[in-house]
């Protein structure tokens, strides 16, 4: 097992995609050639100025990057921390996810593939993928659990309007993990002409590292914006963790800054003790799922256990392997946030700042509220905290409306 410390200088993962004892490739041999092709296309692109220029232009002109770093003063006053919100909610399609899909769509084009497939839970990544596919004129098929296509009918319609085919998945628990299984099966059969556009920093190598590279702009921007705004690095950076892309995106630039504490907030559902949660690091154990070794919610036989969260985007029984490693090395701290605490933070941001956050991002806000007093006590002053506001809450209005009982009865 590796006892090396994480570093942002690009030494991790190793050539085979290992972050310490995590990561790697646990896939059918049929996919290895495609993963190797992707690995090589990604490494080439990372060193290729024309790719970087094209990607940067897309992020700027199409997605709206850099996103703002907004000093949320009324929220700050309420919670006793100077909160800087990284406004990924203002990106085109409403979340950090657009960065990943634009990067992978560019790679798809470079590899000469004409078809992309994706898995989606709430539909956010599906919508983002359908968006990029429309922009790049790619055929797009999105796998979505049949339970989720019903819960998220509006996003299904959005994907269809953008020209994507949405396939309801009726196997297993009919949610995100089964959609991912089905996408893998499609990929095994169509790997010649198809790129699997994974929606988070999970899956077999090179996906975890590749997705991180496409979203790391969040942290690169935030680091500079924070220096410009307060003249110093933040005391802490916080994010919600589903598969882990928005968290890695904002963490990565700060990994080599020892004074900056990194906090990942997992979906605690009804509370980790109830068994009804999606906190893979807090409540899971090391295992293999969806092509990688990481923390997994599983029983003693290694069967995946269903996750539960009010937030569809965090409702996944695994987590990206780099987070598993950041946890083991102690570089980042992971804590669960319950549905109830996340919804309280959702309401708090609505009322103090006039910003409706995604329920996913509300977990990061709730976690920040909970650590503010600890940090203040430790530092002897008000801490400066960058919170990754990974997405906006439009998609969650129905869920939140039901939760708070503000929908008119028919």
């Amino acid at each position: 097992m590796s006892v090396d410390t994480p570093t942002a200088t690009g030494r991790y993962p190793d050539a085979a995609g290992h972050f310490g004892r995590f990561g790697g490739r646990f896939v059918p041999e049929a996919l290895v050639a495609a993963l190797d092709e992707l690995d090589s296309a990604w490494r080439t692109a990372m060193g290729d100025e024309s790719f970087q220029t094209e990607f940067a232009a897309l992020l700027r002109d199409y997605a709206g990057a850099p996103s703002l770093l907004y000093p949320a003063q009324r929220l700050s006053a309420k919670i006793g921390a100077q909160v800087l919100l990284k406004r990924e909610d203002l990106n085109h399609t409403g979340a950090h996810k657009v960065r990943n899909v634009l990067g992978q769509a560019l790679l798809t084009k470079r590899m000469g593939k004409r078809r992309v497939i994706a898995e989606t839970g709430a539909g956010q990544h599906g919508v983002a993928t359908a968006t990029a596919a429309a922009l790049f004129d790619l055929e797009c098929v999105v796998y979505m659990g049949a339970v989720d296509t019903q819960r998220q009918a509006l996003n299904v319609a959005r994907m269809r309007m953008l020209g994507a085919t949405v396939v309801p998945v009726t196997t297993g628990s009919r949610t995100l993990k089964d959609a991912m299984n089905e996408a893998m099966r499609d990929w095994v059969a169509n790997v010649d002409n198809t790129h699997y556009l994974i929606g988070t920093a999970a899956g077999p190598h090179p996906f975890p590292a590749l997705v991180r590279d496409f979203v790391r702009g969040i942290g690169d921007e935030a680091r500079q914006q924070c220096l410009d705004l307060v003249g110093a690095l933040p005391d802490a950076v916080t994010a919600c963790v589903g598969g882990g892309s928005n968290a890695l995106g904002v963490f990565h630039a700060f990994v080599d800054d020892p004074s900056v504490r990194l906090y990942g907030f997992e979906a605690g559902g009804d509370g980790p003790a109830t068994g009804r949660h999606a906190a893979s690091i807090t409540g899971g154990s090391s295992g293999v799922l969806h092509g990688t070794r990481t923390y997994v919610l599983q029983d003693a036989d290694g069967q995946t256990v269903e996750s539960h969260s009010i937030s569809a985007g965090l409702d996944y029984p695994g987590v990206g392997p780099e987070h598993a490693w950041l946890h083991d090395t102690g570089r980042a701290t992971y804590r669960p946030v319950t549905d109830a605490d996340a919804m309280a933070a959702f309401e708090l941001l609505c009322r103090t700042e006039g910003i409706i956050p995604a329920i996913e991002s509300s977990h990061a806000l709730a976690g920040t509220v909970s650590i503010a007093p600890e940090l203040a006590a430790e530092l002897g002053r008000e801490p400066v905290v960058v919170v990754n506001l990974s997405g906006r809450g439009d998609k969650d209005v129905h869920t939140a409306g039901e939760y708070f009982g503000v929908l008119d009865k028919e």
């Binding site: 085979a16 646990f26 059918p28 041999e29 089964d178 095994v188 069967q303």
Partner: protein
């Protein structure tokens, strides 16, 4: 030589291919799966492949997924699988186990190898474990004298194919098509090419699987491979039947048809 190797040698001497029949452990129940596998042996299946049901079987099509779901819903545990291996091995047929990696990792790789060997299992087919990640399994299989069957695919490069085959023991599994398990009506053009690529680098027997479901298809595969691996078509006999006895009758009939198929290799 492993018992699987003996079965392949015998079949080769008879001028035919080995018939490998696959069933998920605990489908439709633990006792039902033992009855099914025993019926397959009695009807002419040479080698039984016991698949450990797994919650997220990414290499499997709808038939095996459904059967695995039924087995898991019935509460089958990995320990039951070992009991099934033990019972079926008692028929005298070699029993190989096919498993996704996580159940083995959670059982403990060394402990699993020890208990599988004690149950009379010959080794493992590992659809989502490639030799690159298999250090622990390589050591455990050596320690307990178990066979290792890794998969090769039409998309494998020559270098990977050679590397993968070098890590195999017992037999090599050639996946005939780019896709998941499930019977197909169309024969695969990629399969004979893949088998000859494997033969160019090893003397190990080569089994062909994915998509084979009829006696005729078995005969075609027997024309170029040492082993013919059938899963979904056999499982469907039980899934489609109104009762277990009716399913077992259908299973015997198809097993016999496939056994006749591997004895009439197409040339």
């Amino acid at each position: 030589m492993s018992r699987i190797g003996v079965a392949f040698d015998q079949a080769r001497a008879e001028g035919r291919a080995v018939l490998v029949g696959c069933m998920p452990a605990g489908f439709p129940t633990v006792e039902g799966s033992i009855a099914a596998m025993t019926a397959m042996v009695e009807a002419g299946v040479d080698v039984i492949e016991v698949e450990i049901p797994y919650s997220d079987p990414v290499m499997d099509g709808p038939v095996i997924q459904r059967a695995s779901d039924i087995a898991l819903a019935g509460g089958v545990r990995v320990a039951d699988t070992l009991r099934i291996v033990d019972a079926v091995a008692a028929t005298g047929a070699p029993v190989v186990t096919m498993t996704y990696w996580n159940p083995v990792e959670q059982y403990g790789v060394d402990a699993f190898a020890r208990d599988l060997a004690a149950a009379g299992g010959t080794g493992l087919i590992t659809p989502d474990l490639i030799p690159d990640e298999a250090q622990e399994w390589l050591a455990a299989s050596d320690a307990y004298g178990l066979d290792r069957t890794f998969l090769v695919s039409p998309s494998s490069t020559d270098a990977r194919l050679r590397m993968t085959v070098e890590h195999c023991r017992g037999f090599v599994y050639a996946t005939a098509i780019m896709g998941v398990t499930g019977a197909r009506t169309q024969a695969s053009a990629a399969a004979p090419v893949l088998v000859s690529r494997v033969r160019a680098v090893t003397d190990l027997p080569v089994g062909v699987g994915l998509g084979i479901g009829t006696g005729e298809q078995a005969g075609t595969a027997a024309g170029f491979a040492d082993g013919v691996i059938v899963g979904s078509a056999l499982i469907r006999c039980l899934l489609d039947a109104a009762s277990l006895p009716a399913g077992l009758t259908a299973l015997r009939e198809l097993s016999a048809e496939l056994a006749a198929g591997v004895r009439t290799p197409a040339s």
